[in-house]
């Protein structure tokens, strides 16, 4: 079953077309990883798939339904979005940040209940940061913030999780930790659509990889078929030798 499906989708802002006639899908339970150079349209694509930006033409279907006309509430109950971590402005606690993920699950005029607090605590526990609950979100490290944002997304109890460069600007240990969590979330049945700038991360966690060249999808398929030196070289405008020099993990796949 397709969790997300793009049909003849053109995306962009007003008259500026970023990508044309996209057709691809995200299958239930898989990790689909988007790879591509800066300015390739990843952000625009994510915004469109999340219903934050209307498509120029074509349709997005989520869980078999066209998303045009969905309320934000309906969206948030199905799709969670993990943005790149920002410092935040007001000194909320990590618990409060994670509880914000419960907003789509509680009444319009309600505040999170004990049940919601339990779920938030469980999400922090699952990511191994239960001890950060009462810490101030603006004061913890970048890696801890990323984990807190994953916890917030999980508190939404989504079917699909969309992650915008979840390993960006993290140290090596935190990158490994986040990739480990992504693998475990997949094992729990959550469908994941993520972007990354590091092909080795895609190779590590992705079931399928999509190559986002500026303007179109250059290829989509299993890592073995897609993350080949020639395709990556074309995608990033470098030579095959440079790719193989920097990506020894390729050897593991062949």
């Amino acid at each position: 079953m397709n969790v997300i499906e793009a049909r003849a989708l053109s995306i962009g802002y007003g008259r500026k077309v970023v990508m044309n006639s996209l057709a691809f899908n995200v299958k239930a339970g898989e990790v689909l990883c988007l790879l591509g150079p800066n300015g390739g349209g990843k952000t625009t694509l994510f915004k469109t798939l999340l219903g934050l930006l209307p498509p120029l033409s074509g349709e997005v279907h989520v869980l078999g339904e066209a998303i045009a006309g969905w309320s934000r509430l309906a969206f948030a109950q199905r799709v969670a979005y993990m943005p790149q971590a920002h410092a935040g402005i007001f000194p909320f606690t990590v618990n409060e940040i994670v509880l914000m993920g419960r907003t789509a699950r509680i009444g319009r005029f309600a505040i999170p209940s004990r049940h919601d607090r339990k779920i938030a605590a469980d999400c922090l526990e699952m990511l191994g940061i239960a001890h950060l609950g009462e810490c101030i979100y603006t004061a913890i490290s970048g890696g801890e913030r990323q984990l807190a944002l994953i916890a917030r997304a999980l508190a939404q109890q989504p079917t699909v999780l969309v992650m915008d460069e979840p390993t960006a600007s993290l140290d090596f240990g935190n990158q490994i930790r986040i990739l480990g969590h992504i693998g475990r979330l997949r094992d729990q049945g959550i469908t994941i659509l993520m972007s990354t700038h590091q092909p080795e991360h895609a190779l590590r966690v992705a079931d399928r990889i999509a190559l986002l060249a500026p303007g179109s999808i250059a290829g989509i398929g299993t890592p073995r078929d897609i993350a080949t030196p020639d395709k990556l070289a074309a995608l990033y405008s470098v030579t095959e030798d440079e790719i193989t020099a920097y990506l020894p993990t390729r050897a593991l796949l062949n």
Binding site: R72, A76, F90, P91, M100, A104, E134, A139
Partner: protein, 342 residues
């Protein structure tokens, strides 16, 4: 720099603030041109509660119930309203430096109300003018900050607010020049603009209280969702919030509250900026705790500064001057102090 919450835990903080505020209210009854002893005050309150006779001179009873009480109620209303509006604006504009003053809402409401006073219009019309002009001011400020995307949005919002506020104040000055200095008109405008509880009577209160309450209702009902407006818009939307609609509802609510207060007491500055900061320092940024804390502290702050306005010097100082004298240094202190813990 500690990552743990350095502020007091919420419940003792509330109790602490509550006790302080009760003390301020008692003091507000006691101090003034006609001092009233605490014993007489307690006797009179006790007598009112039990229906017994306090056996006090009539003058004391009149000062307590007819002069001090309406004034204290007005101070509570104004302080609570401006602080709540400030807390809401800060959250929804993701900017701890905005307030009804800085966003131009106070100046807009002031301009609207000055037009009303200039033409000698009834209070209801003055209130409508204050609301409409306040809403227009914040609308222009917010609209400009949305158009200018090349600069820091926090800065743009503040600067646009200052620009619009200055323009509106120029309009007010023009009306002052045009008004008749030989009638009461000019002095009415001047005193009213400085902010004062002196001119607030119980008829004003009767019309202002319901309007402030109406403005507070959406803030109270949406107290959890307001928190999400402090996230980037797209993030809040992805969490299930209709961002534009929610922000619009809150802007209207906070502007109604501000304009109502301005239309009865003039421009009482600093409350909407300083009090939410202090409240956030005590109970954290979660709006479901920040709102009640701001209401309480705001009420206490204005009633407290009004005591100073009445007793500091021989003549009564305009409240707006005293809130500025207390608020500005306190804000600078907060700025220096909270930078480390937040």
């Amino acid at each position: 720099m500690s990552t743990k919450n350095a502020a007091l835990p919420p419940v003792p903080a509330y109790l602490f603030a509550l006790l302080g505020i009760v003390a301020i209210f008692m003091a507000a009854f006691a101090f003034g041109k006609y001092p009233i002893s605490i014993v007489d005050l307690l006797r009179s309150i006790f007598a009112r509660l039990t229906g017994a006779d306090a056996e006090l001179p009539e003058a004391i009873e009149i000062v307590i119930w007819n002069i001090r009480l309406p004034r204290i109620v007005a101070g509570m209303l104004i302080g609570a309203a401006l602080a709540a509006a400030g807390a809401a604006y800060q959250n929804m504009f993701r900017n701890p430096l905005v307030s009804p003053d800085i966003l131009g809402v106070s100046a807009g409401a002031g301009f609207g109300a000055t037009i009303g006073i200039f033409f000698g219009l009834p209070l209801t019309v003055i209130q409508v003018l204050a609301f409409v002009c306040g809403l227009a001011a914040v609308g222009v400020v917010y609209g400009v900050s949305g158009l200018v995307r090349r600069h820091d949005p926090v800065l743009v919002l503040v600067l646009a607010g200052i620009a619009v506020g200055t323009l509106l104040n120029a309009g007010v000055s023009l009306l002052k020049i045009l008004s008749d200095p030989h009638s009461q008109q000019l002095s009415n405008i001047v005193f009213w603009l400085l902010g004062s509880l002196n001119g607030v009577n119980s008829r004003d209160l009767a019309s202002a209280v319901p309007l402030v309450l109406i403005g507070l209702v959406p803030m109270i009902l949406l107290r959890w969702r307001v928190n999400l407006l402090s996230l980037p818009d797209e993030e809040a939307a992805a969490l299930g919030i209709e961002v534009a609609r929610l922000r619009m509802v809150l802007i209207i609510a906070a502007t109604l509250v501000t304009a109502t207060v301005v239309s009865i007491a003039g421009i009482v500055g600093w409350v909407g900026l300083v009090v939410p900061h202090a409240a956030r320092f005590l109970v954290g940024p979660n709006f479901s705790r920040l709102l009640p804390a701001s209401l309480l502290l705001g009420a206490g702050f204005v009633v407290g500064t009004d005591i100073l306005a009445r007793t500091l010097v021989v003549i009564e100082l305009p409240l707006g001057i005293v809130t500025a004298m207390v608020g500005a240094p306190f804000f600078l202190y907060l700025l220096a102090h909270t930078g480390k813990t937040e």
